[in-house]
Every structure is written in structure tokens, then in C-alpha cells.
């Protein structure tokens, strides 16, 4: 089995090369060996997988080995650098035709390639009806979860954060957490996210408000983290007296409008989340003195902006323990406590 694992590793190199210009050096014989090797490994994969079930010794890539013969074939077919003779040999190997006296594996590969072509045609067909963002995102989320399940997550998520396009990764992660909250894989993803401040901040920043509200509704731990993040953003806003608006200190910071949009989204969510968000706002507003005058506390103003339905009238009565425990502005930025005497004028 060790040697088989080694072969898998070596084959993955072949697979990587198959896309590059290096295949120009491959003759028909090399192509034949590669395809036969792929076929053999496919058969062996089935047995290997069964043997390793429950042992988790396999390398992280084992799960993806099922279709490598198809991947190799498609790559070689699409590689312009492959020589003419090698290409002709490839065609004969992959598409022996209807009267194939070839052994079963050849016919099987031909059938699988046909199926791939059929599926691609079907996808193109369905895409004519309009873009399928939901389906695409769901698929990416499923693949992310599958990857997490198939191998030790260890450095996987860190690696993804470092290498993968971040926006796509975060979108897929959010979709994965909304797919089906039970199971170990989403749990791992959530833990990683909560432990990684920059990823969490980026998630809160980049995702649309509605999606974050859905996430917060599903995962209480995320809800708390999200509210903390919103608190941090809120604290950075300064009230500009002449214009009567809350301004971000720096252009990169979250704007008042966006903050309000986030809270609007939360206020529209079903009760547990909605109540938590409103309670947080009230707590922070109370901490700032609960004066019902605009411009003194961003939290008060947000409550007012959410409309009459939001918040209670007894702003002063909100409990200080609130939802966040020790959250709120006091920890985010040690600085002068807000009070009516300390109105901030623009510098």
C-alpha cells in the first residue's frame, strides 16, 4: 500500500505536468503509459479507499482520486503543446469507437468522458436560462466541505486563506455554513473562522448584510462575533456637527450608511437574532448615557434610525450586562468617555 501511495503522489506530478508545455516532449509511448497508469490507479483507488476507511492515514488528496483519469484525459486533449503523433495516439486510446474490442477499462473511460461532455452540455444549456449563482455557490460550498471531510484540516484553511482568492473563499465558507449546520466539517470551518480575526473581519465586511444576518441567525457564536465587529465599526465613527452626520475617520472605515444597513438587516431577522441585536444597541446606547439627542452616541442614533418599531422606550433601563458581556466601545477603544461636554468637532 505504501508503494501505491507513492505512485499516487508521482501521478499527481504527471497530472500537473499534463497541463503545461512540457508535454511537447511526450511521444505516443509516454501518452500510452500515462493513460494506462491513470486507468490502473483508478481501479486501485477503489480498493485503497476501502482499505483505508476508518484509518485516516491517507494523504489529504485521497478523496479526489476517483476521477483523475478523466482529468488527465481532458487536460491532454486540451493541451496544444502535445505533439501530433502523441495526440493521435491519445485519441485512439480514449475513443476506441463503437466496435471496441478493447478491454473493458478503455470502454469505461470512453463512457466517462462522454458523460463529462454530456454534463457540460447540460450545464451550458441550463445556463442559457440565466446565471445560476445560487447553484454555483452551493456547489463551491459543497466542495469546500468535501475537502474538509476528506483530509486533515490542519493547515488547510490557513492555506486557503493565504493562497485562494479571498472573496470567493469567504463566500463559499458562508454558503457552507448555511448549507447544513450539523456535521463536523462546518463545525471545523466555524471554529477556524472565529479564531482568525482577519478572516472574520473580512467576512463581516465583504458579505452582504442579508447573508450575514442569515449566518448570525444560524450560528450563535457568529452572531456574537458579528455584533462585536459592528461595535468596533461604530466606535470609529465621528459626529460632524456642521453637517449633522456621522463620518468615518478614514475612507477605508465602514460608513454610517453601511452600519445602519447592517442593523436594518438584523432588525428584520426572526426574533432571537432581532432581539439580540436590538438589546445590544440599547445596551451600548445606555452606556453612552442614553441621552436622546442626536449626535452624542452612534448607538442612540442607530436606534432612532431603525424606526419606531425598534428598541424599547426605556433606553435608560437597558441592562448593562447585555448580550456581549464586556463588549461595546469601552473595550474597543480606550479613550475619553462620551458625554455631552465632549462633542467632537472636525479637526
Amino acid at each position: 500500500m505504501e508503494s501505491l501511495l507513492q505512485q499516487l503522489e508521482r501521478f499527481s506530478e504527471v497530472l500537473a505536468v499534463s497541463r503545461t508545455a512540457a508535454v511537447s516532449a511526450w511521444g505516443p509511448a509516454a501518452v500510452r503509459r500515462a493513460v494506462q497508469w491513470a486507468r490502473y490507479l483508478r481501479r486501485a483507488h477503489g480498493r485503497l479507499r476501502a482499505a483505508l476507511e476508518g484509518r485516516r492515514r491517507a494523504g489529504p488528496r485521497l478523496g479526489a482520486w476517483g476521477g483523475r483519469d478523466v482529468v488527465l484525459s481532458a487536460r491532454l486533449l486540451g493541451n496544444r503543446a502535445l505533439g501530433a503523433a502523441a495526440h493521435r495516439c491519445l485519441l485512439r486510446l480514449l475513443f476506441p469507437g463503437p466496435a471496441a474490442p478493447a478491454p473493458a477499462p478503455a470502454a469505461a473511460l470512453q463512457a466517462r468522458l462522454a458523460r463529462l461532455a454530456r454534463r457540460r452540455g447540460a450545464v451550458r444549456l441550463l445556463l442559457r436560462g440565466g446565471p445560476a449563482e445560487d447553484a454555483a455557490l452551493r456547489t463551491q460550498a459543497e466542495l469546500l466541505l468535501r475537502r474538509l471531510r476528506d483530509g486533515p484540516a490542519g493547515g488547510l484553511l490557513d492555506g486557503l486563506w493565504a493562497r485562494a482568492p479571498r472573496a470567493a473563499f469567504l463566500r463559499a465558507a458562508a454558503a457552507a455554513l448555511l448549507l447544513d449546520p450539523a456535521g463536523p466539517a462546518p463545525g471545523e470551518l466555524l471554529r477556524w473562522l472565529l479564531g482568525r480575526a482577519d478572516a472574520l473581519a473580512a467576512l463581516c465586511r465583504d458579505l452582504p448584510a442579508a447573508r450575514l444576518a442569515a449566518l448570525a441567525a444560524r450560528h450563535p457564536a457568529l452572531r456574537r462575533a458579528y455584533l462585536r465587529q459592528l461595535a468596533r465599526w461604530g466606535c470609529r465613527l465621528r459626529y460632524d456637527l456642521p453637517s449633522g452626520r456621522w463620518e468615518a475617520a478614514e475612507p477605508a472605515h465602514v460608513s454610517w450608511a453601511e452600519l445602519r444597513g447592517r442593523f436594518l438587516s438584523l432588525a428584520r431577522a426572526p426574533p432571537p437574532l432581532k432581539d439580540a441585536a436590538l438589546a445590544a444597541l440599547e445596551a451600548w446606547s445606555a452606556r453612552d448615557g442614553a441621552f436622546r439627542v442626536r449626535g452624542l452616541s452612534v448607538w442612540t442614533d442607530l436606534l432612532l434610525a431603525l424606526g419606531p418599531g425598534a428598541g424599547t422606550d426605556s433606553l435608560g433601563a437597558a441592562s448593562s450586562s447585555g448580550v456581549l458581556g464586556a463588549g461595546g466601545c469601552r473595550l474597543a477603544r480606550p479613550g475619553p468617555a462620551r458625554s455631552p461636554e465632549h462633542a467632537h468637532f472636525p479637526k
Binding site: A64, H87, A122, L126
Partner: protein, 547 residues
């Protein structure tokens, strides 16, 4: 051979033209046209491959100078690629085009171009943004991994949208974002069992609701659901039938379910007859556990048989059923429950039997008595059934004596349905059957009209029985409509009675769970078919022995 090649080149022209039309217009019509032609085009591709594989590349170009165009247009048409084996045959054709020894730059270019097309079929088209591509890659997956999952999810969201549309179709506002022809819905059901099950469950919800559903309404719901038509596919029929069976068992033979099964079968048979020219399936595929001759007889619509022969047909049915039920060696056709379940699909025959018994001048036929008793209580032992038959016979003798009298009194008839003080309380079954005979009598006897209402009020002291009588009248009117039965006086009476009963029934009629006497169809050890359902024991409702 020469003729073949002439044929082939005219086909070639035809398809070349078609492909060009399909390429340039992407309207609904062209798409539908494409879909309709897919199987024939695949045949053409096969023929073409047979021709091409005998020739070398240069000869091919000589013979078919525009073949490149034809194959390219085929490659760009996702309908063709997505259909059956067309993509495979197309690939074979393209392989034939590859020149083993290109002599000049032209031939090299052609090779290069062909390679391009081949890779397009299998790899080029990107489904998503580059960003997503890179993400998938960083996960260690390839587009080949992504594609099947994407397809599955696209289809799933289509299916759920379709289901929503289909369900919302019952409301007045239809969301017509996707509307599929019936054939497409049937195809979907054939390929995706959960959507068939959901559709059937939704139908059940509508049928077994808190409001009484008249048979007309049931028929409307059924036809609207497309299930009877789809059930012309034996696979779909079997599944829907199985679900009906389950519900019947779970509700312990609720009359509403029985009615629904009957109407469903009727609509199904109607649909089957419409498709008669395409009928490819034998009856056995729909009713695999039943005796074929029995099914054939039951399937006959009473309308197609002269009324004089109804009696004979009923006797025949009765004999066949009796043979299967009472003869131990006929186990292959299931036990009493299976027989009964088959029979109630065509429950109209039982109603006709009751009518015939009341109206016939001669002595009550044993066969019909047996049939009636069986249809109401399939699990009775032969002794119990014999007893029931005796009771029925006695009631009938009484009724027949009175049938021709011009004036009747309610008291005369009350004795038929009510209890006699000097006897043990009668089982609910006998009471129900007697009521049935009595009602038939009221509808058909010349003197029955005058006293009908009075008798009914005497005989129906409770809501449950009123409910039962309403059901009977509705069913009878429905049946007469379908048989184009004239009998204007009887009809009028039935309608009037129905209206009166509705008006007078004040309390809420609970459809299920109040334990009105039902055909006792709970399973027993003898019913292997029923057991195979893996159903928890049916809710047994209280069997009231006296009203």
C-alpha cells in the same frame, strides 16, 4: 449503395440547414424544434460515422467539403451535446477527420482546428469566473469535479422551483416563470422520485382536508395534479397506488380515501384509453399481483355494457373474487386484502350491485350478496360473511315486498335499518349495509320519494350517519352522471335530499377519526403483500357496535 449515398446526401443537406437555423435563433420555438429532432439527428450522426470511418481525411473533405461546418455547428449546440450518446458519436466523427500525415499547411490547419473542437467538447468552456476557477483549484479540485455538482444543484433548484410553481398552480395567481408541458413533468417524475412523492402527498393533503370534498371536486384535483395521466407509466402508477394503499391502511379504510382511489382509477383509465394507440404496457405491469382476467373484467366501464348484462357481469366478478379469496391455492394473487384493494379501485361495481339487488324482482342473487358483504368487510371469515348475507337477504325480502306499493309509511321501512328489540345489537357493518339498501330503495321505489326525508331522519340520528348518507348520495349522483343514467325522478330526489342534509347538518363533520363504521381492512398475518409495506400498525379507530 448508390441509392444510400443519394439518401445520405439529401439528409446531409437537411441537417445542415436545420443546424444553421438552430444556431441563429434561440427562441422557444427553435429550442422545442431542436429537442424534437434530437433522436433523429443522433441516428444521422451514427450513419455519418459509418460513412466517415471507411474514408481517410482527405477523401472526406473531398466528398463533404462542408463537413467542418456541420460538425462545428453540432459542437456549439448544447442540446445535442447533452443528449444521450450524440456527443460520443460526434467525437468519433471528429476523430475521423484527423489526418495521419498532413501533406501541406492546409491539412495541418484542419488538424489543428479539429483538435480545437475536440477540446471544446471536453474542456474549454468556463462555467464561472476566473476567481471561482482559482478557488476550486486551490481546494485541489478540477473543473471535472465541479461540473457534476454544479449540474446537480442547477437541476435541484429548477426542480424546487417547478414544484412550487406546480403547487401554486392551484391558486388563482400562477407564477408562470416555468411552465412545462405535461410530458416534461412526467419525465421529471420518472427520473426524480422525490418530486413524484411530494406531488402525491400534496394531492393527499388537498383531498383529506377538513372540508368535505365532493367527488366532482376530487376529480378536478386529481386531473389538475396530472397524476392520473402520468400514471399511464406503470412505474408511476405503482408508486402512486402504493401511496394510496398506505394512506388507506393508515386511515383504516376511510371512505374519503376509498372515494379518492376510485376517482383516481377512473381518471387513470380515461387517460389510458386516450393513449390507447401508444399503449405499450400490459395490464400486468399495472396490477402485477392480481389475476389478469379479473382485472380485465373490472376495467370494463359499465357504460360499455348493456344494462341487461350488468347482473351477469357482477356475478362473474363475484365468482372470480370469491374463488381467489376462498381458495387457498390461489395465494399468488394475494390474500383477501389484496383482492379487496384491487376491487375498490373499481368500487362503482359494488354500488351497482346494491342497486341491482334492490331493484331486481327475482330472488336476491347469492353472488351479489357475497360481493356486497365482501366489499364492506373483506376480512370476515366465511361464517361471519354468511351471517351478513343472511341478514341482507332478510332485509331485501322485506324491501322487495314493499317495492311496488304506491304508498308507503316510514315505519315500514324503519324496521329494515333499525334494531329489533328482540335481537342482539347488530354489528355496525350490517347496519351500514342495510342503510345502503334502504337508500337505494328510497331512490328507486315509486313510493319512496314521498317518505324519503322522513325515513332518513329516523335512520340518521347522528352526524356520522348523516355524513355517511351525504357521501352515498354524492357518490350515487356522480356515478349516474358518468353512466349517463337518466332516471330524472331519482336524480331529483337525490339532489334534494343532499341539499336538505347539508342544510341540516349543523355540527362540524370531522372527516376522520370519529370512527364511523368502516370496512375492516386492518392487516392480518395472511396478507403478505400488505406486510411488505413495512408500515406501523394502522390506527385502529373505535369500532362502534351500536349507534
Amino acid at each position: 449503395m448508390a441509392q444510400d449515398s443519394v439518401d445520405f446526401s439529401s439528409h446531409y443537406q437537411f441537417w445542415m440547414q436545420k443546424l444553421s437555423v438552430w444556431e441563429h435563433a434561440s427562441t422557444l420555438e427553435t429550442q422545442q424544434d431542436t429537442c424534437l429532432h434530437l433522436p433523429r439527428f443522433q441516428e444521422f450522426l451514427r450513419q455519418m460515422y459509418e460513412v466517415l470511418k471507411e474514408l481517410n481525411s482527405s477523401t472526406i473533405i473531398e466528398r463533404f467539403p462542408t463537413i467542418g461546418q456541420l460538425l462545428a455547428k453540432t459542437c456549439w449546440n448544447p442540446f445535442i451535446l447533452a443528449f444521450d450518446e450524440s456527443q460520443k458519436i460526434l467525437i468519433w466523427c471528429l476523430c475521423c477527420l484527423i489526418n495521419k500525415e498532413p501533406q501541406n499547411s492546409e491539412e495541418s490547419k484542419l488538424n489543428s482546428w479539429t483538435r480545437g473542437l475536440l477540446s471544446q467538447i471536453l474542456s474549454a468552456f468556463r462555467f464561472d469566473t476566473k476567481e471561482v476557477d482559482l478557488f476550486i483549484q486551490s481546494l485541489g479540485y478540477t473543473p471535472e469535479d465541479y461540473c457534476p455538482g454544479l449540474l446537480k444543484n442547477m437541476v435541484l433548484s429548477l426542480v424546487s422551483e417547478l414544484r412550487e410553481n406546480h403547487l401554486n398552480g392551484f391558486n388563482t395567481q400562477r407564477r408562470k416563470k416555468i411552465s412545462l408541458p405535461t410530458s416534461a413533468v412526467v419525465c421529471l417524475w420518472l427520473r426524480h422520485l422525490p418530486s413524484l412523492e411530494k406531488a402525491t402527498l400534496h394531492l393527499f393533503e388537498k383531498l383529506i382536508s377538513s372540508e368535505r370534498n365532493f367527488l366532482r371536486r376530487i376529480e378536478y384535483f386529481l386531473k389538475d395534479s396530472l397524476l392520473p395521466e402520468a400514471a399511464c407509466h406503470p412505474a408511476i402508477f405503482r408508486i402512486v397506488d402504493e401511496m394510496f394503499r398506505y394512506v388507506l391502511l393508515e386511515t383504516d379504510g376511510a371512505p374519503e380515501v376509498l372515494a379518492a382511489i376510485q376517482v383516481f382509477t377512473q381518471c387513470f383509465v380515461e387517460a389510458l384509453e386516450k393513449k390507447n394507440k401508444q399503449l405499450k404496457f400490459t395490464l400486468k405491469t399495472y396490477f402485477p399481483y392480481a389475476s389478469p382476467s379479473l382485472v380485465m373484467v373490472l376495467l370494463q366501464h359499465p357504460k360499455e355494457i348493456p344494462q341487461e348484462l350488468w347482473l351477469q357481469t357482477l356475478k362473474h366478478i363475484s365468482e372470480m373474487l370469491r374463488e381467489i379469496v376462498e381458495d387457498q391455492t390461489h395465494r399468488s394473487y394475494g390474500g383477501p386484502f389484496e383482492c379487496w384493494f384491487l376491487f375498490i379501485h373499481f368500487g362503482g361495481w359494488a354500488d351497482i350491485a346494491a342497486e341491482q339487488l334492490v331493484m331486481s324482482e327475482t330472488e336476491s342473487s347469492e353472488a351479489l350478496l357475497w360481493l356486497l358483504a365482501f366489499s364492506y368487510s373483506p376480512r370476515d371469515g366465511s361464517l361471519q360473511r354468511a351471517q351478513t348475507m343472511v341478514e341482507l337477504k332478510a332485509a331485501l325480502i322485506h324491501l322487495k315486498k314493499l317495492f311496488r306499493s304506491p304508498t308507503l309509511s316510514a315505519k315500514d321501512l324503519q324496521a329494515v335499518a333499525a334494531e329489533s328489540p328482540d335481537r342482539d345489537p347488530r354489528p355496525a357493518l350490517c347496519q351500514q349495509l342495510s342503510r345502503r339498501l334502504l337508500l337505494n330503495f328510497l331512490l328507486w321505489a315509486p313510493g319512496g320519494h314521498a317518505i324519503a326525508w322522513e325515513v332518513i331522519t329516523l335512520v340518521a340520528p347522528t352526524d356520522e350517519i348523516t355524513h355517511e348518507i351525504i357521501g352515498f348520495l354524492d357518490q350515487t349522483l356522480y356515478r349516474w352522471d358518468h353512466l349517463c343514467e337518466e332516471a330524472p325522478r331519482s336524480r331529483k330526489l337525490a339532489r334534494e335530499l343532499l341539499a336538505e342534509l347539508h342544510a341540516s347538518s349543523t355540527s362540524q363533520l370531522k372527516m376522520l377519526g370519529t370512527g364511523s363504521a368502516r370496512p375492516r381492512c386492518s392487516r392480518g398475518p395472511a396478507d403478505s403483500q400488505a406486510q411488505s409495506l413495512n408500515v406501523s400498525s394502522p390506527t385502529v379507530l373505535p369500532q362502534k357496535n351500536q349507534q
